[in-house]
Symmetry: C2
Subunit: 440 residues, 2 copies
Amino acid sequence: MTEIIPGPGTARAIHSGELHRSLADPLLSAMTFLNEVTHRFPDAISFAPGRPYEGLFDPDSITDFLQAYREHLERDRGLDAAGVRSALFQYGRTNGQIHELVARTVANDEDIHVPVESVVVTVGAQEGMLLVLRALFTGPDDVLLVSSPCYVGITGAARLLDIDFVGVPETDEGPDPERVAAAARRLRAEGRRARALYIVPDFANPSGTSMPVDRRRRLLDVAAAEDLLVIEDNPYGLFTTEDVRTPTLKSLDTDGTVIYLGSFAKSCFPGARVGYVLADQAVVEPDGTRTLLADALAKIKSMTTVNTSALSQAAIGGLLVRAGCRLREWNADTIAFYRANMRLMLAELARHFPPGSGVSWNIPGGGFFAVVTVPFVADDAALECSAREYGVLWTPMNIFHLDGGGLDQLRLSCSYVEPDRLVEGIARLAAFIAARGVRV
Amino acid sequence: MTEIIPGPGTARAIHSGELHRSLADPLLSAMTFLNEVTHRFPDAISFAPGRPYEGLFDPDSITDFLQAYREHLERDRGLDAAGVRSALFQYGRTNGQIHELVARTVANDEDIHVPVESVVVTVGAQEGMLLVLRALFTGPDDVLLVSSPCYVGITGAARLLDIDFVGVPETDEGPDPERVAAAARRLRAEGRRARALYIVPDFANPSGTSMPVDRRRRLLDVAAAEDLLVIEDNPYGLFTTEDVRTPTLKSLDTDGTVIYLGSFAKSCFPGARVGYVLADQAVVEPDGTRTLLADALAKIKSMTTVNTSALSQAAIGGLLVRAGCRLREWNADTIAFYRANMRLMLAELARHFPPGSGVSWNIPGGGFFAVVTVPFVADDAALECSAREYGVLWTPMNIFHLDGGGLDQLRLSCSYVEPDRLVEGIARLAAFIAARGVRV
């Protein structure tokens, strides 16, 4: 936020109450907070934002990715010099130009097989959420189900579009399918409709929780029975702590229940802002014509961003070419880094907080996040104190809860810190917690 | 659109009536049509899309722009290697990282002086429209005024957000300020509110029309009197046919009436998808705290795209550095190209259609577009015939009218064709028109 002194060009004042109601919702400040909190305390050790580790990024690689993409356009797609120039600089296909590479990658990495035309390349998964919500929700009687605690990107996007949402409490195995069904039935009894459920089945943000495969299968059955679409968001799936992989909901989906949101922010790099939606559902017109949900998303995308940056698509496309459309192998070093960091963070927590200390945490099977439960209120004020006096940043879990819960919990992200800083950071966190009267 | 045969993964059918109502509006197909029509008829000469000329783009320049930006980060912003890496790869400031370069450029090129913090870097001007509409419009009683015929990007974005709009007929000097005032008063009498007017004062899309400076001044007075914000969109302003420049509304604005949408799609290149909003209006909270409208737009942007591609910002930022933040000079060759093409197109029209032929057109002072009036219905079916049988593409003006008008007009874009193809294309257009019984 920028405090300003009235001056030339700022004579016209708009009262905040005259702006859209979403702007008054703390949700819309949460993302800015997560993205910018590191800038406010540059010397603090940050377990706050879910940012990928930067140490493995190499600025010189961009030129190589762009070169790989140009070669791909010439060799694999038969473009001449003018065609390559157009692909890099000009407006293009609304749903993107790297859709074939994306389809190949999800087939290799996630065993997901969809028609190439059902891939919508988006400006990060966030634009994907916006497009999907806009397409599916028609009015005040359509309600979004989300597990709670929940990623703020989906609830914030819902707020922008005046879409109501209802939380289904998360267990330590993700949302309980029976409670999802109950929520859908409760809404139906009220004359409303649970249109879709948003879920991160693998190493959820914020909780780090994952759904076992049986629960995934049961959830798909429930969704089919309740005529509920499932929006599966999978930014962290590659980053398992063991060499086992639970199948994605989309790979288990045989009847088009799941709309899949993918992101290259963690498996490639966030600065490209490239994500995708897999939307292979059929849309049936009154005259019987059938198109793909992806085509409807394209119409909406033409009015949000027109295209995803051709330059970003070229960089990510080139990286996919270099990676042979296999991001799991490509990310071997990154996966190893996150594994080691997660283990280290959990070990350091165990070292500082022995049983009986009143401090506990979960043991995620991968991803970036773990949740620590403390015997005091871990709110924005506590974070401010932690940052200013102890030089350590984390995220209050409360901002992810729909019902005011999570006040005694904090989210730690292990993704962004070097191991030696991580050790020092957990020591600082322990000092902060000790100062609150907790035995450590 | 993709016609599909039901198969595995497409068992779930969604009826089109169950999707958001915007998807049933022809407006949302218009942009996809404009972007993809050239792909449907690859051999036709295209006066259809408002795409920039590609002949001056050089794929090798991208590496140079990225290099220039890296040097700028080190030299002008004092970043070390880690800082540069973070700027290129990582999540960043929601409102963008090239805001200072943008502010310098609009000062140099358009004599617009705003606080750097009021610049919001967006995924093209299209995202800017979405953010501004979402911030300003609170419910069904807030109405958007647009000049008619009107760019479909703004009306389409309004449809996504269920925002009502009302057309103010355009004259050959843009919208008449008195009719704008009358429209605002009429809405007020109905208990509704004209919240903002969207306008392209320079070489409008689709009409090519410009507003004289006196009319601009009067429009600002009317807007202030009627408590109406003006959304000025200026993608074509650099491309004048003479070396004179009418001041932008924003440069004439002394009291924060104008929210300015800028685009680098035509002055740099569209593939980057980088635009910006200048939003220096003060927002006043109930407790008297003042922030900038740009801060509210950031909150919304955090839920649409999170960030504008860092890679795209680096490319455009590097280009701005190389250009000394003076895009008019940088675009000297491009400006000359469009000037020559516009003159040639108008001359060729005059050669084929002498006075009395029943075919007429306007004489734009710059930009990409001219409008031809013909004595027959120039609709989608006529375009299909023109493309298939005569190998020439244009855009039916009807899609830009809110009231079904413009059926006897077609929009010609002179921006995308080589001069020799332009001459041949107008000859083809003349043959198509002649076949409709018009004396040529």
